[in-house]
């Protein structure tokens, strides 16, 4: 069972590296940085929770692909918008919106995925016991 776990963990890590490479070379640098920030938060905080390592790495992998998908869609949208821009003013306006919304919207998926993933690590309820008893 341990060998199986180790194999799954290695496979997941390879998938994460692949995901980062795709983000760097097929999407853009900002997407790579967003995924690295997500990985940093996830690894430093969630990995300290009680739970199996395979589950944690599995969730991390899922998070990376969610982020990659999000950024790919966002990237296609931005490329289409740039091509459709009628004049330099519209283009500049779009670039401004893109710069503002890119990290903001990325934060939203990071937070949503991270907070949902916490559900996988159950912790016995520690507060509120006396009031409810």
């Amino acid at each position: 069972m341990k060998i199986f776990d180790a194999l799954v963990a290695i496979l997941c890590l390879e998938a994460i590296v692949l995901c980062l490479l795709i983000a760097a070379f097929r999407v853009n640098l900002q997407s790579l940085v967003t995924l690295l920030i997500f990985n940093g938060f996830f690894a430093s905080i969630t990995f300290q929770f009680h739970g199996s390592l395979v589950k944690k790495i599995g969730l991390l992998t899922l998070g990376n692909y969610t982020g990659l998908f999000w950024n790919l869609v966002f990237n296609y949208f931005s490329v289409s918008a740039v091509q459709a821009a009628a004049d330099p003013f519209q283009l500049q306006l779009f670039k401004t919106c893109y710069t503002v919304f890119f990290p903001f919207l990325n934060t939203l998926w990071v937070i949503s995925f991270w907070s949902l993933s916490l559900t996988a690590f159950r912790q016995p309820k520690t507060t509120f016991q006396e009031a409810a008893s």
Partner: protein
């Protein structure tokens, strides 16, 4: 020239946000490490310290909740011969005073102070000072009327005073009526971030643990020497926090001393409460910032944390200000550093949970075992957006009073409906 100034402002705001982001990240890691090492706060079992304790309860029109608290206080496990309770009926126009009188007839350790209409309802600090005159215990603990403490909370809180350097203690506030509606659920998330992670981390790291105005207490002698509660500031708790530290004492945060509060259950009440906190906190910023910097009783890390704590209600304003300053810079392509890199810390720190970032709240919720509550974390963006106009208005009022020298503090009391009663013993 203007572009350079704007660019510099944007960069400066980002550095502030980054500082807070790193601070709260360290807090989160500290609490997680502490949990994994199973280090405990001062526990009741190993402390043989039983001082006389006075409990101070200010109450203004609290007929729906005061009975619940007084009944609970009669059930405390602390020896009753070492307890004194002073209930301040702060010019209530409802049955609060009558309920308190009925309890004081049955329980001789309870005393009731009735404040006259012309003196009363001038704020919590004023009522506390009136009640404090009657206090004769070595330790004075404070509870708001809408709170519901654990039976052994006095033992837990007084255990902290075993260390002579500790001048005050603070227990944990847990929202009682969390399932009531979306507002109470979001307030519960904020409380969890603040009390499960933020306060505990500050206690662990030897920084400025904060007295929250209730579920806590002081050495009576120290509080007398500090002059009691300052009636000129709206956040008298934050004011006392800094007075205690500046006097050379520490505040201990005791995470397992839980007390259940009835949180505000509508946006209007939330706005009024947060406005009072924001304005009071800003008043304390102007009152104590220089003292904190000059103090010889604070070490460098306490000074840094103290200043960051005093600044915290400016953060929603800074976040929106960075957006306003950043937009023209981005539009005209002017930036000292690529704006993407500047936006990241601002988004990560402020937009979801402006006082405790999302990961801090998430870890607190997880450690509390609130599996379903954590799904609501992304919705903290709503409270951030709501806090911006509240904090901006508070800043304008504080700035106006500083410029004109006219200061008028209107205490907007949070009313309690007793809805929390439903969740006790259910």
């Amino acid at each position: 020239m203007i572009e350079e100034i704007l660019g510099f402002c944007f960069l400066a705001l980002t550095v502030v946000m980054l500082t807070y982001l790193v601070r709260h990240y360290i807090f989160t890691l500290s609490v997680l490490r502490n949990v994994n090492r199973t280090k405990k706060a001062p526990s009741v079992q190993n402390v043989e310290f039983e001082p006389s304790v006075s409990i101070l309860i200010p109450a203004h029109n609290e007929e729906y909740v005061i009975g619940r608290l007084l009944q609970r206080l009669t059930e405390l496990t602390y020896p009753q011969n070492k307890l004194q309770m002073v209930i301040v009926d702060d010019a209530s126009s409802d049955r609060t005073g009558k309920i308190a009188d009925e309890y004081s007839k049955s329980y001789p350790f309870m005393q009731v102070v009735h404040r006259a209409k012309k003196l009363g309802a001038q704020g919590k600090a004023s009522a506390m000072n009136d009640g404090f005159k009657l206090v004769n215990g070595e330790i004075v603990l404070c509870f708001d009327a809408d709170y519901y403490p654990q039976k052994n909370i006095v033992e837990k809180l007084t255990a902290g005073f075993n260390n002579p350097k500790v001048g005050a203690v603070q227990g944990r506030v847990v929202v009682l009526n969390e399932p009531q509606n979306m507002v109470t659920r979001l307030v519960a998330l904020e409380r969890i971030g603040g009390y499960r992670v933020d306060q505990e981390a500050r206690d662990n790291l030897g920084l400025i643990a904060q007295f929250g105005g209730t579920v806590g207490g002081f050495r009576t002698s120290l509080l007398r020497s500090l002059g009691g509660w300052d009636e000129s500031v709206l956040a008298e708790d934050t004011d006392l926090t800094f007075k205690v530290y500046l006097a050379g004492y520490k505040i201990r945060y005791i995470v397992d001393a839980e007390c259940y509060e009835e949180a505000v259950d509508n946006w209007k009440a939330y706005r009024r409460q947060r406005f009072r906190w924001a304005k009071g906190h800003m008043q304390c910023f102007f009152k104590h910032s220089l003292n904190v910097l000059k103090s010889k009783n604070l070490n460098v890390k306490e000074k840094i944390d103290g200043l960051l704590l005093l600044n915290v209600y400016f953060m929603p304003i800074f976040a929106i200000a960075s957006l306003i300053v950043g937009l023209p810079l981005i539009f005209y392509g002017v930036a000292l550093v690529n704006t993407f890199w500047l936006w990241v810390p601002i988004c990560l720190y402020s937009f979801v949970g402006n006082f405790a970032p999302f990961f801090e709240v998430g870890v607190g919720v997880h450690l509390d075992g609130r599996t379903r509550t954590q799904w609501l974390i992304p919705l903290l963006i709503v409270t951030f957006l709501y806090n911006f106009p509240i904090c901006a208005r508070a800043l304008l009022e504080v700035a106006f009073s500083k410029l004109t020298g006219r200061s008028k503090n209107v205490w907007l009391k949070t009313s309690h409906s007793g809805n929390g009663n439903h969740y006790i013993g259910s």
